[in-house]
């Protein structure tokens, strides 16, 4: 009888708790409504809208040159790739052929952006599972890329370096030298990442077998990028629909089949190696030529619908333009990778612990302004 009383006193009860909107582990202003039983998660509902700026509506007001700078502010960690998506969509609509030099420079900066995004993710990932050192090491290597961007593009994060028809200005004379320095530096640092975190027993225990996503579910939820590739779904836009200079380079698509947090981690580490290899193939032979082709001061797209997708550091970004022939788009839609990837958070974290939720969210690598445009 006495045992029964004790059990009754410690009767577990489902309750509801807010995580965010101001929470370091949610990487921005994301609010998660958690229904939990003790420490076991029963339900995760993301609540969006805290950083909604109606970018899609603002695009209907702006000219095509002006739209580009708004995309900096969606996924700010891969801003150059976002800019490129809009520029490629406009160039395809205008049937404009940009010079080879532009294509190569765009691809190099794309891959630098991807490395920069992944190093930040690596640092934050370590911090989310309790290893503070990785945070500093990740930011140290990212600093070199930011300096390259600052020298060539004029800004560290919101670069706005692309314009429809090319680039805003030519690369800085120091660009090639600095990129080579960075590649040489980064190739010695990546093995350190593995020593510090990948091989670490605590890290492996926190991530292996946690947040398992099957290939079928990844496809069903519309996952893309490293999240889907960690589940064995080959979906790299760079490989399947190459754009810019990506058809000239050879690289491997990072694929892992386990589908857990550790697989997603390994995919991103491998992607950094692949990005380094892409930059190495291109940096020595940037073709001579113009850095832009002249467009009309007022760009008017022919009437119709245009779609362009690119691979950002987070997955597939789609830009969909409906034009009625005017100088502004009639409707502009961005298919952001973050929203689809976030939608599967509930599916893969239910039944786990709160601590695992943080680790899983880190491997999904959400950027909230991208989810909530």
């Amino acid at each position: 009888m006495e045992t029964a009383t004790i059990n009754n006193n410690f009767k577990s009860e489902e309750y509801f708790i807010n995580m965010g909107p101001q929470h370091p582990a949610t990487h921005g202003v994301l609010r998660l409504l958690l229904t939990i039983d003790g420490e076991i998660i029963k339900k995760v509902e993301p609540d969006l809208g805290y950083i909604h700026r109606s970018i899609e509506k603002m695009c209907e007001r702006d000219s095509y040159q002006q739209i580009v700078h708004l995309t900096d502010r969606m996924d700010y960690l891969s801003s150059h790739i976002n800019n490129e998506a809009v520029c490629l969509a406009v160039e395809n609509a205008l049937e404009l052929e940009v010079p080879e030099r532009v294509k190569v420079i765009r691809t190099i900066i794309d891959e630098l952006t991807r490395i920069s995004s992944h190093t930040l993710w690596w640092g934050v990932m370590g911090m989310d599972v309790g290893a503070l050192t990785s945070y500093f090491y990740g930011f140290r290597d990212r600093e070199m890329i930011n300096d390259i961007f600052e020298e060539t593009c004029g800004a560290r994060l919101t670069m706005n370096y692309n314009i429809p028809g090319g680039l805003m200005q030519d690369i800085h004379p120091n660009f090639v030298k600095r990129v080579k320095e960075f590649i040489a530096h980064f190739k010695t640092k990546l093995p350190e990442y593995d020593k510090l975190l990948t091989g670490n027993i605590i890290f492996q225990k926190r991530t292996k077998g946690v947040g398992v996503l099957s290939k079928e579910d990844a496809i069903a939820y519309g996952a893309s990028g490293p999240v889907a590739r960690g589940s064995g779904y080959s979906c790299d836009v760079r490989k399947h629909h190459p754009y810019s200079a990506l058809d000239k380079v050879s690289f491997n698509e990072a694929l892992h089949t386990e589908g857990d947090s550790y697989a997603r981690y390994l995919v991103r580490i491998q992607e950094m190696w692949e990005s380094v290899s892409i930059i190495e193939q291109l940096i020595d032979n940037i073709p001579e030529g113009d850095f832009k082709v002249a467009t009309n001061a007022v760009i008017k797209l022919p009437k119709g619908e245009y779609y362009q997708k690119v691979e950002t550091a987070r997955g597939e970004l789609g830009v969909y333009i409906i034009s009625t022939g005017g100088k502004n788009p009639h409707r502009m839609k961005f298919r952001s990778p973050g929203l689809s990837n976030l939608s599967l958070l509930n599916h893969i974290t239910v039944g786990g612990k709160i601590g695992d939720l943080v680790a899983t969210m880190a491997t999904i690598d959400i950027v909230v302004p991208d989810i909530d445009r």
Binding site: Q66, D147, T152, G154
Partner: protein, 157 residues
């Protein structure tokens, strides 16, 4: 038995990681990227393309090269630039010519996208690498870029 091998393996991975951090602990000066920011103001040099704020360079005769064509105003995505202009008599030719009265720059609305400087046909505005922009009141962020009494440089069309 796996209990002991787990302990051994665990300690081994921890030591591998600590080997990395220990290396940096002993060579802490090498490869440090930290800048002692407020103390290094004198030596801190920003990159020449850095987009800090828009300025209008004036020469020693208090002349600028802004013709008041308003291309920057049209190019700006968020209305940060406002140009007040009128037609004044050009003292050299005697004809009436469009000239700026005030080139107002709302820095608080500016996103540093660079489209205005890119659009300017006469290089009248450019980027200054100033990044210390904190002020006490937002009205201080609205700036008139042309200096009082300045006029357009002769020969700039």
């Amino acid at each position: 038995m796996s209990y002991f091998s787990d302990i051994y393996h665990g300690i081994q991975t921890l030591l591998t990681g600590m080997g990395v951090t220990g290396k940096y602990f002993l060579n802490s000066r090498k490869g440090a990227i930290t800048q002692q920011y407020p103390d290094n103001r004198d030596t801190l040099k920003m990159f020449e393309r850095f987009r800090g704020e828009v300025v209008m360079p004036h020469d020693e005769n208090n002349e600028h090269s802004c013709t008041g064509c308003q291309k920057c105003e049209i190019a700006c995505p968020n209305g940060s630039i406002e140009i007040i202009w009128d037609r004044q008599v050009d003292p050299e030719t005697g004809k009436k010519k469009k000239m700026i009265d005030k080139h107002i720059y709302h820095f608080g609305m500016c996103t540093q996208c660079g489209l205005c400087v890119d659009a300017c046909p006469s290089d009248a505005i450019k980027w200054a690498p100033n990044f210390e922009n904190a002020v006490y009141d937002r009205s201080q962020l609205t700036r008139v870029l042309n200096k009082p009494g300045s006029k357009v440089r002769a020969g700039v069309e």
